[in-house]
Symmetry: C2
Subunit: 332 residues, 2 copies
């Protein structure tokens, strides 16, 4: 690594916080951490590459935020508490202004969740970020994709579809001046809210969970396959923002289709028995976070993963062809 790039490592020492369970942080061959007794460690890795996951021209604050948020969302999906993060940053050149912005987005979010940067690597090359986040949780209490049971309510957190609309706005380079609405959707594409605290509080009330990164339908299918059950979704229960309705000029169907397939939402989808409705409501009210019941798990066999989700509008079955269904063949 060139000297210039080594300098960047120092850059990342600022803005970092100190956790008591980090025995040795940045500056040796490895970091050393302590895991509390009777806990498991949850580990996730995600790459964001310029051109694939974000535009090379994207604000570095949003890139720093999104790179960490997408990983925190995976930790949340297990019901774990995020603790430590490693950052591998590949940059064409050590651009101080870009790094300042990146650190603002990254460390701002890390602080909110009391996550410490414990190491990483800075490399010369095409812009790309790989983050590994670790978290801890009491042994045996993880939320996995496996436990969904017939009769479970299917929940999602937050609002769905805004991320896809925001991405569409971003990619529409033909438009010079963007409306307030478009800018807001762009912002939502980059700035998801990892449901970290909510998931930890809901952990004991749920049967299964995951985060929505490839689109609700694609991701829910993972739960269905691993739990060997089907899902009925009432599309009228999908949480749609006023902004999305406005963006699609009031076409509820277009909003709903987008909500079903929009990727990089980093909201959670989870299933929980009906008797926990009240308890779940209390927690979401306490934390001031929205969740919606969008359907139900049913004990029906399916041979083709494409048939694992049955869409409804109230009592009418829907036979929608959804953009993103392609994913399925290899995704599950």
């Amino acid at each position: 690594m060139s000297s210039e790039f080594n300098l960047i490592d120092k850059f990342f020492v600022h803005g970092n916080l100190t956790r008591e369970d980090v025995d040795l942080g940045i500056g040796d061959d490895c970091a050393l951490v302590t895991v509390p007794e009777n806990h498991q460690v949850a580990i996730t890795t995600d790459t964001l590459a310029a051109g694939t996951h974000f535009l090379a021209t994207a604000s570095p604050i949003s890139v720093g935020y999104k790179a960490l948020a997408s990983n925190l969302s995976d930790i949340a999906a297990m019901g774990a508490k995020p603790t430590w993060v490693s950052l591998a940053l590949t940059l064409p050149e050590p651009d101080e202004e870009w790094l300042n912005g990146f650190c603002e987005g990254f460390f701002g979010l890390a602080k909110q969740h009391h996550v410490q940067l414990i190491g990483g690597d800075t490399t010369k090359g095409p812009l790309s970020i790989t983050i590994t986040v670790q978290g801890i949780l009491p042994r045996g209490e993880a939320l996995t994709r496996k436990g969904a049971k017939a009769g479970d309510d299917i929940y999602v957190t937050g609002l769905l579809g805004d991320s896809a609309a925001g991405l569409e706005v971003l990619l529409n380079t033909s438009k010079q001046i963007k409306t307030e609405l478009e800018l807001e959707l762009e912002r939502r594409h980059y700035y998801s809210t990892p449901r970290v605290e909510l998931a930890q509080r809901l952990r004991h009330l749920c049967h299964s969970a995951l985060d929505i990164s490839d689109g609700l339908i694609s991701d829910l299918a993972h739960i269905l396959k691993q739990s060997n059950v089907r899902a009925y979704i009432d599309v009228d229960q999908l949480p749609i923002s006023d902004e999305l309705m406005q963006y699609f000029a009031g076409s509820r169907e277009q909003c709903q289709k987008t909500a079903l397939t929009s990727g990089e939402e980093y909201e959670l989808c989870f299933t929980a028995p009906k008797e926990n409705r009240e308890a779940i409501k209390q927690i979401t009210t306490l934390l001031n976070q929205n969740v919606s019941i969008i359907g139900e798990i049913v004990d029906e066999p399916f041979t083709n993963i494409q048939d694992s989700v049955q869409l409804h509008r109230q009592i009418s079955k829907l036979d929608w062809t959804l953009h993103g269904y392609d994913h399925f063949r290899s995704n599950v």
Copy 2:
């Protein structure tokens, strides 16, 4: 991620082994692992980018091997036992032949060290590999850069300099047909031996350690700075291969200068009190691994990190200008 790329994830399930301490492996939002009581976790992340750390035309077997070996070497440098690895692989396209080779190199080495792949991410983009390896070690027993003491012997494992010579051969594209010697040096550049078992056995006998990734002189300076001591190195004690001597047409000085600065060696440099010489010798003999005593830690102050290492040939001081000294200004 496109469906094609999702297919790659399945690719990585083959060839993987199963550890008992992995509670949940590939296939959920996170992996879950268990750390034994009274142990710490050691964590390291390294990126290898095509064009920076290897040629895009390099054999995928060597790339898979090297990407993991460089991380295992960091774990070894702490005296930890490697356990789990996450792999973030960015590829321009899902090239099955390349992936087969990569997996052969990666999983071949992972098996040797009983390390389980617990997750990762496959992304479309310029060829780059980021690996996070974790290891465990009994609480408080880690080898760090901090503990070197006056009177300590300075050791290195293996042979030094071959990696730099191998890289020079690799980068010399003007030469169409390479000699056996050149091909052997190339091979040594890619295939280092992570000193994983050796370091665990030597842990209680050493005061400090690190792995040589930026060159012996640059890396040793980390120990010297963190331990606040100086080093005397007798260049005639540097372990030089016959092949390197042959490559430099018998110029011992050129070999020694190369040994002092050659990066990506992934050998260990460690310091240990003189009274442990015999015990160290017994262990290295048992494991059939070479270590060399190349100098001594002395209790002398230094104001400039460039003066932290004093080179000698027997009793004569040397005033060599070394390629790589540049690193220093920002590296420590």
